[in-house]
Every structure is written in structure tokens, then in C-alpha cells.
Assembly symmetry: C2
Homo-oligomer: 450 residues x 2
């Protein structure tokens, strides 16, 4: 190349927070998606997919589910060069699947059948500052059940059963010790009611503090309740009494031992007991009551879920959700309660990938590479490929006649487990070589079976 012809080269790099995988990793990611989708569908959840964007006005009407800060995190779309007079609604990439679900349910209300059981596996975007382990573009895999006016508790129990089935058998996750932790917000709220605490600020501060119980510990919760009591002029003694009651409550492992102090609390205990009863077929320790689970969101009103790695609880929840009373009153004049749970897919997948636990897959999905020993064998090669594809095999054909050694090396590099030799001038039979054990034998496309 002469100097004059030299092109300026723009060297591409990874965009921080936007993950991208090599083909063999993408194949494992698709295995995961297939597994999750199959399990969701095996419980009768139907798929929906919403556009990547919502109108900014629609997002603002609904607000986030609390997991995202709309103002700070939303990515808004701009056309590079707008023409004068373009007056279009402003669009923003969705930052969760809850706002889109609410909008979808309201918009298509008359065309949906309730209870509406839907799953949704899409990318969401959050324009946070890049941090280790945080993505700006990532997948969420959500299920929700929405009904009109009331929603049976049946579905609160179905959520953890599905999640357990998925997480305990995702390829590469089989040896992870995970645990789904469940509570019901009515219990703690009812406890405060029973203690005659009515100030909204007190209640929400206690919830926030209890939410940090796992990470910050007992003393933190105790102190923040005492401080809070002083600040809201309930007195130190009263504060101590309340904090003792709450700490004792949080340490109760068996809901049968929780004493109800109010109707709301009784309701919560009954609901949680029903849910746990329905899950008794799952392995010991897979789903447990944890009364410190509250989820930091005002949005939830009953059952709440979190899921942790038992050996690494500080990693935080990999799958969370709960029950809410009001999905979409900003969009429609209906009472739409629901219960849902969301797998933080990309973060989980990336953890297992980084720990080198994903199944080792070849670059090519092909089961067989058919060699081309000489140009004259091309039509035999193509025919064998079609025959084998017809039997359900995935088949690559080698593109040009070349040394068999080179063709074997190609199969090896791409991770193709069988190499096929069609008849050619040197051999009148089909032969197939098992790349794993090195054996080679005569065969035909009609008779061959892995």
C-alpha cells in the first residue's frame, strides 16, 4: 500500500457497561435463555415483547419500580439532525420491564385474558456511571401475573417454584448453593401497627433500616430504630422496647412462632404460611422464610422475594420481586394487582462466565463437518449434508478442496465433534471420524447416528 492509499484506522474498543461475548459464550447465553423460556412456558406463561422505548411522558406518569432513578438513568433518543417542524414525542429506552408491562396491560386491556400470565426477556438500559459489575445494557427475565381487582395467592407460591426450577438447573449453575428468601410486608407493617406506631415516616424508616439487616447487622438496626424514636419524640425507652421487639421478630425462623399483634399482621402470617405450604415439596433450604426481607420499594404490598448465593450473600439478590396492589392506575381506571419476579440475567450470567463455570461449547453449533477431499466430491458432499440435515443434524461443509489435515484442524478449532469423509477417488465409502476418541469407521448418511 502506498502512503497515499493508507486509510485512517479507527481502532474499536469495548464500550464500558455494554457487554459483548465471543461466539462460544453467546452460545451458552442462548442455552440459558432457552432454558428459562422453556421453564416459564411450562407453567403457562405467555411471551410478550415491548418496544425498546417508551414515551418519556408515559415513563414519568408511572415512575420506576424503585430499582432505577428515572431522571438520572434514562437514556433519551435524539435524532442526529432533526428537520424543522419535527414535533415528535420524546422517547427513552426502558430501564426496567415493569413500566412497559403496566403500559402494555393498560393499553391492550380489552384484548388480554386475565389472570394475565406473561414472561418477558429483554434488554433494559440504565445510564449509570460505569462501575465494576454494573452494566448499562443488560437482560432481565421477568414473569408477572396480573389480575383485575383481586389476585389469588396461588400465584405468590408459583413464583419461587419456577425460579427454583430455573436457577437450580441453569447450565453451569448446578453446583451453586442458592436460596430464595421470602417474607410478607404485611407482617412487619402489622407488627408496627400492633406496637401502635402510625407515623408514615416511622414506618417507612423502619422498613428501610430492616432492609439493611442482612448487610449491616443487628446493632445497626437497633441503633437506627432508637435514633429514629428519639427524633420522632417517642423517647429512648420506647425506642429500646420497639427495637427489641423488632430484633426478636427478625430472628424468628419459624412463622408458627410469630405472635400476631394486629389484623394486618395475622393476614401476612396466613399468606406467608400458605405460600410456604405450597413450596414444601422443594429441597430443604431452597426456599426459606426470612422476615428481614422487605424490598426497599413502596410499590410492594405483600409477599416479597430475594434470592442469594448462600456462600456469598453480600453479592446481593440475583432474583427479586413481590406482590403489588396497583400496577397501572396511572394508565387505566382499573385496580390491577399482580405478583412478579425478575432474574437479573446479565449480572448472573457474567458471574458464572467469569468463574469459568459455563459449559464448554464449540464455536460452531455443527455436529458434523463434511470434508471436501477433491473438487469432484463436491456434489456428494452437498448431498450428504442435505441428508444429514434432514435427519436433524447440524452440518458444516468444507468450502474448498484442501489437505485433510487442514480440514481436521478446522473442525478441531471450531469444536465440531465429528468429521465426515464422503466417497472420493481414493475411497468409495463414506467414513466418519469421532474427534473426541479418534475412532473412524465406514458409514452412510442414511444409517448414521451419533
Amino acid at each position: 500500500m502506498s502512503k497515499k492509499d493508507k486509510k485512517k484506522i479507527y481502532k474499536p474498543k469495548t464500550i464500558s457497561g455494554f457487554p459483548e461475548w465471543l461466539p462460544e459464550v453467546r452460545r451458552a447465553e442462548l442455552l440459558w435463555f432457552d432454558h428459562i423460556r422453556k421453564t416459564f412456558e411450562s407453567y403457562g406463561f405467555c411471551p410478550i415483547e415491548t418496544p425498546s422505548v417508551e414515551e418519556l411522558d408515559a415513563i414519568n406518569a408511572k415512575g420506576g419500580d424503585g430499582g432505577a432513578d428515572v431522571d438520572k438513568e434514562a437514556y433519551v433518543l435524539e435524532r442526529l439532525h432533526k428537520e424543522d417542524g419535527d414535533k415528535e414525542a420524546r422517547l427513552a429506552l426502558h430501564f426496567d420491564q415493569t413500566v412497559p408491562l403496566a403500559r402494555y396491560t393498560a393499553q391492550h386491556f380489552n384484548d388480554l385474558t386475565f389472570p394475565f400470565k406473561r414472561y418477558q426477556m429483554q434488554r433494559v438500559w440504565r445510564g449509570e456511571r460505569p462501575q465494576a459489575g454494573r452494566f448499562r445494557e443488560f437482560y432481565q427475565c421477568d414473569i408477572d401475573v396480573i389480575n383485575v381487582d383481586t389476585l389469588p395467592l396461588h400465584f405468590d407460591a408459583e413464583m419461587p417454584a419456577i425460579i427454583w426450577e430455573i436457577l437450580s438447573s441453569l447450565p453451569g449453575m448446578e453446583n451453586e448453593k442458592i436460596q430464595i428468601r421470602i417474607s410478607n410486608r404485611k407482617i412487619l407493617i402489622g407488627l408496627l401497627e400492633g406496637l401502635n406506631i402510625k407515623q408514615a415516616e416511622y414506618v417507612s424508616e423502619v422498613l428501610r433500616s430492616v432492609d439493611k439487616y442482612e448487610k449491616q447487622g443487628e446493632e445497626y438496626v437497633r441503633n437506627s430504630i432508637i435514633e429514629l424514636s428519639l427524633r420522632l419524640e417517642l423517647g429512648k425507652e420506647q425506642g429500646k422496647k420497639i427495637s427489641n421487639t423488632i430484633i426478636e421478630f427478625l430472628n424468628t425462623k419459624n412463622i408458627a412462632n410469630v405472635k400476631s399483634l394486629s389484623d394486618t399482621m395475622s393476614e401476612g402470617i396466613t399468606e406467608l404460611s400458605f405460600v410456604m405450604d405450597q413450596l414444601s415439596h422443594l429441597p430443604e433450604g431452597s426456599v426459606v422464610v426470612d422476615l428481614s426481607i422487605v424490598r426497599g420499594l413502596d410499590y410492594y404490598t405483600g409477599t416479597v422475594y430475594e434470592t442469594v448465593f448462600v456462600d456469598d450473600p453480600s453479592y446481593g439478590s440475583i432474583c427479586s420481586g413481590g406482590r403489588y396492589d396497583d400496577l397501572a392506575s396511572n394508565y387505566i381506571n382499573k385496580q390491577l394487582p399482580g405478583v412478579g419476579i425478575s432474574i437479573g440475567f446479565s449480572r448472573l450470567f457474567d458471574r458464572i462466565r467469569a468463574q469459568d463455570k459455563l459449559p464448554k461449547l464449540g464455536i460452531s453449533p455443527a455436529d458434523i463437518l463434511i470434508c471436501l477431499p477433491e473438487e469432484e466430491a463436491r456434489s456428494t458432499m452437498m448431498q450428504a449434508a442435505q441428508d444429514l440435515r434432514g435427519k436433524g443434524y447440524k452440518v458444516e461443509t468444507f468450502h474448498s478442496p484442501s489437505k485433510i489435515k487442514r480440514q481436521l484442524a478446522y473442525a478441531e478449532k471450531k469444536g465440531i465433534p465429528y468429521v465426515w469423509f464422503p466417497p472420493f477417488s481414493g475411497n468409495s465409502d463414506h467414513e466418519v471420524k469421532n474427534m473426541l476418541d479418534g475412532t473412524q469407521s465406514k458409514t452412510t448418511p442414511e444409517s448414521w447416528d451419533k
Copy 2:
């Protein structure tokens, strides 16, 4: 609700150009994706997925493949409220999968195995003004084979074979008459060379005019070549002669009858003949030579493809592509030739949907609804559901004890083909009802088979 409590409701509506389907349509869309993916993989193509965005600088370095106008159509992301000092690269949603493929191949060059056969099925975004039949967010399903320095013609023939297999058997497309039309740009360019036409402007104007042959007809092409000849001072007589030669050429159906006027032309004829030879096993008329296919892009250098509905050619191409010499020289100092083809998925799917030809699927993916005749039957219901799921069936369980009639109506509405009655106080057997023919019979979860 009192007046004071009345919330302001934001009534959601469809965003023009951003399609969204009801669950039963989304289920058909997933069937299509599964079918396409399975076929791509059966030829050994590996999956990749790139982020939804590219750096604007990277897009500008590469430019579009000609299908999109970067400046006018790119959607750029803006954070709603940037903090001072945020100096991040500007990001834009990709408007095709060619720019991302080029960037990906260059960036991961050392980790890829060549020939690199990849498929990619993602959304792309084009901020065009909304028009009937044009989407701003839509799926493309692409395959490309990239190699270093040279790429065997084998792959030029593989593309239409795969596309034919896919399009002729997409659910709902079985009765569509489609046709893949192939040419090789070297033939027409070589023809002009043979006619001693060397002005770059003349050549590219002729290509542009021939590209409109199908839509505008013979007279249009003839006149525009004569006009062009006058404008570039070749004279009217010469223009007439050239236009006659070109029109005669365009009407040649059999490449064996094309007379070569130059080396480039001979090369094109040889290549096209090889490709057609490899496709001779396909049904008559499925893949044909059409010398008027040029694709309007400078990008392509050899084989070019378009695909039309035979009964509605004015609808335009539903699947196009071709061979290019230089995928990524803007990103890497390597010669990377490739050949690829792209299915304009969403537009095609929407056509078949609007024509009501999609397979009729139920809202629920479930095969079976298990009824709950009374609360006492709940654990039997749940057990039967687990057993049947273990056998590979998709099973919904009814959520609350209620009249059987109501539960049957639910199955009917959701399109679930079998309704299952677990034993309860009124009946000690499992029974199953076929909703299609109305028959009902005793069974067990262990023995049942559709």
C-alpha cells in the same frame, strides 16, 4: 372514588414505527425466530449479539452499507441529566448489523476462527419519518461469512440455499410464491468495460438506472442511458447503441447466452454459473438469474441477491445481500472479504400477520390446564402438574376452586387444548378432556400421552 382521589390518567398509545404484538402473535414471532435460528445453525453458523449501540465515531468511520442514511436516521442516546464533567463517547443505536459486524470482527480478530460464519438476529433502529409499512425499530436476521484475504465461492452458493430453506417453510409462508434472484456485479461492470466506458460517473449512473429496471421498466432504463450519454458527451448514437446492448443483456435469462466482452465480465459469468450449479437441487423457479439485480450499493463487488414475492414484485425485496471485498478496513489493517444476506424480518412478519396467514396459536403456551374442583384437591393438582411437566408437557394449574364451567371457559379463552380433572371428593380418578373434540376419559399423569 372521591373527586379528590381521582388520579390523572396518562392514556398510553402505540408509538408510530415501534410495533408491539399481542401474546398470541408474539408466540408466532418466536416460532419464526426459532425456525430461522435452527436453520442458520444447521449450516454451522454461530450466533453473535452486539450491543444495541455503537460509538458514533465508529459508525462514522465505517458508514452505512448504503441501506441507511447515518446522518438522518441514527438515533443518538442522551442521558436526561448529565452531570458536569461527564465526558463520554457519544453512542448511537445501530441502524443495521453490518457496521456492528465489521467492528466486532476487527475488535475480536485474534479470537475468531476463519472463515467466520456468524448469524445475528437483533433489532435495529432507523429514525425515519413514520410511513406506512416502515418501522423505526425492527428485526433483521443476517448471516455472513468473513474470511481473510480471499473467500471461496462456496459460500456465495450457500446463502440462497439457506434462505430458500427458511422462507419456503416459515409457518404461514408455505403457500407464498417467493423467488431468489441472483446476479454478479462483475458481469454488468465488465460489460461496460467491454463497451469501453470508463468514466466512474457513467458506470455508477448506469448501475443506479439498471437497479430500477424491475420497477420502472425498459423505457426508463433506455432513456436514462441516452440522457446520460448526452450529458457526458458520448453522443446520442453511441447512447442508443449502449442502451440497446444493455437492454438486450438485461433480458437474457440464460447466462450461457451472455457473450463476454471483457475479463471482468468473464469472471462474473464463471462465478454466477458456479453458484447456480450448486443450487440446481432447488425447485424450478426458486432461485433464478436476474441480470438486472445490482443492489444500489458501492459496497458489493460480486454476487448479489434479492428475494421477491412472485405475485407482488412491487413489494420489493424481502431478503437481500451479496459479496463484498472489504468489510472492515476502517477498523483493522486486514483485507476481509465476505458474503452475506439479510432477512428484513419485521416487515415480512407484519405482512403475513396482516394477511391473517400466521398459524393460529393460543394465548397460553400450555398443553394442559389442570382444574381445581375444590381446595382439598390442591396438592393433587400440584403433584399432577409436576409429574406432567416432568414428562415435557406445559401445564397451567387453575388458581382457585371455582365452578368447572368457569375453569373450562378459561382454558377455551387461552387456547389450552386439554383440561385435566384431578381426583376430588366427587371422583376418585384423574380425567382429561380434549377441548377440540369434547371427549373425556380416565387417565393418570404417568400414563397420559397426547
